[in-house]
């Protein structure tokens, strides 16, 4: 069954999962666990435990879903994830945590994701040394962007999503998504320049 599940598309898997098929659920988890955790980690607060909780909540919503089968499971699940992320933004505990100290660093692991076809872990040796510090710094920089601009950059760069897909997930017109991407990149470029000038 696992082999069969690997050959199924997301929508067919989802249909099987809703009928209570556990082996198929495992395949769905394999496909979406990592991307969703990365999405929450980058978008919400860079806390792995919080990201884990949000991933679990997303999968629970998937299991409890009783509605019409979505046209695209991937877009549907990211819409669901986005709603959960924004619920988290609005929560009192999140606002409270933002006031306190946030020094949650990424733990060192053997496996790192491939972004845009590049194995990001096995790069230059010197880059490996500063990796953990760099990740935290990038997170801080991204957090200086407004959330709506940040999410477009995250979906576009890390999720490798088309602009039309982002428009569907965010429920915005394509023009708005383009505008947010442009402004976000423009702003981020300025932030990087400031960082660079500050380091000199």
């Amino acid at each position: 069954m696992v082999g069969v599940a690997q050959g199924m598309n997301d929508e067919a898997l989802f249909e099987q999962v809703l009928s209570g098929n556990q082996q198929v659920l495992e395949e769905l988890v394999t496909r979406y666990y990592g991307p969703l955790r990365g999405y929450f980690y980058r978008l919400v607060d860079g806390n792995l435990q919080d990201s884990e909780d949000l991933v679990q909540e997303t999968f629970l919503r998937i299991l409890r879903y009783k509605g019409k089968m979505p046209y695209s499971f991937r877009l549907w699940v990211y819409t669901l994830a986005r709603n959960l992320a924004y619920d988290r933004f609005r929560s009192a505990s999140y606002k409270h945590e933002q006031v306190g100290d946030k020094t949650d660093l990424i733990e060192e692991r053997d496996e790192y994701p491939t972004i845009h076809g590049v194995d990001t872990y096995n790069r230059l040796p010197e880059a490996k040394v500063i990796e953990r510090v760099s990740a935290e710094a990038v997170r801080e920089e991204l957090y200086r962007l407004p959330a709506l601009q940040r999410e477009v950059i995250i979906m576009r760069f890390y999720g490798e999503m088309k602009l039309e897909e982002i428009a569907t997930i965010t429920g915005c017109p394509l023009g708005t998504v383009k505008s947010r991407l442009f402004k976000g990149l423009q702003q981020y470029k300025k932030i990087l320049e400031e960082v660079e000038n500050g380091n000199e």
Binding site: G34, I106, H116, E131, S134, F157, E160, K178
Partner: protein, 283 residues
């Protein structure tokens, strides 16, 4: 997708002027690529699977017994607020007073004509007042649209059937010649027929169709019998008595009511099948 050229992919879809304004993004993309999130380990995936498996079993066990149905009906019935019951009582009282006590045929015909509209408005008021929240609740609820559909249908039909004796008992007292069982069959025919039509058209298309089609048919039926009612009412005061007599002796009306009953039942069945594959529970 230009997976090996992240800066190109990042800019793809933006206008040429904006791309030019942003310039070279190589440094930015390298910076972004350095923010990595570790892939879940096998152990983490197993932990997640264990917590989800418990929910998967619960999902599979979504059938519930009589107690579950009763609880669901009770929960749905709580949506009916006190204003709804006042409106029902006022409508019934109005029908009795105008139709039976005052004996004004035109007024009772008018009441007859608008009663489905009033009922429908009441139902829409209850289930649409906060429709976005209701939809969100339905989507998140472990009770599916199918169960809600059956529950709400049973509730509406049950309320109507429970109210039927309240109209029949005074009717029987006022008009002893009235054949009780005929009134029940004719009443049920009209009720189930229109309810089935309204439900099916709403579920299949939308609320507007679900209002216009059944009300249009109801209006046509009332309009078609209007002339007979007026012709038999003389000075507009005996239409009620004529209606009672017609109900008591007309076999054609009885057959029509039986057909409406069957059609209504079939439409409800079709609507339920439609609900099963859709998200709406006609709320």
């Amino acid at each position: 997708m230009a997976t090996n050229d992240p800066s190109h992919f990042l800019l793809e879809g933006l206008d040429a002027s904006r791309r030019e304004e942003l310039g070279d993004l190589d440094a930015m993309t390298k910076r972004l690529a350095s923010m990595q999130v570790p892939e879940p380990t096998q152990e983490e995936q197993s932990t997640l699977m264990r917590s989800l498996a418990a929910n998967l079993i619960q999902t599979g066990r979504s059938r519930f017994g009589i107690k579950g149905w009763l609880r669901l009906i009770l929960a749905q019935a709580r949506l009916f607020e006190v204003e709804f019951w006042y409106a029902c009582a006022a409508m019934m009282l109005f029908t009795l007073v105008t139709g039976a006590l005052v004996g004004n045929g035109a007024l009772s015909l008018f009441t007859l004509m608008v009663s489905p509209l009033v009922a429908m408005t009441g139902v829409l008021y209850i289930f649409h007042r906060d429709s976005s929240s209701l939809s969100a609740l339905e989507a998140a609820s472990p009770v599916g649209a199918y169960a809600l559909f059956f529950c709400r249908s049973a509730l509406i039909l049950g309320i109507n059937l429970a109210a039927l004796p309240l109209l029949l008992i005074p009717g029987q007292m006022l008009f002893p010649q009235l054949a009780f069982w005929r009134v029940v069959v004719i009443g049920l025919g009209a009720l189930v027929g229109l309810f089935g039509l309204a439900t099916y058209t709403t579920v299949r298309w939308n609320g507007l169709m679900g209002t216009v089609i059944p009300l249009g048919i109801w209006g046509l039926l009332v309009g078609a019998s209007w002339q007979s009612a007026v012709a038999n009412s003389g000075n507009w005061s005996l239409a009620t008595e004529w209606m009672v007599n017609t109900i008591s002796v007309s076999n054609a009306l009885l057959i029509e009511a039986l057909l409406a009953l069957l059609c209504g039942g079939w439409l409800l069945f079709q609507a339920a099948r439609w609900v099963k594959k859709d998200i709406r529970s006609w709320a």
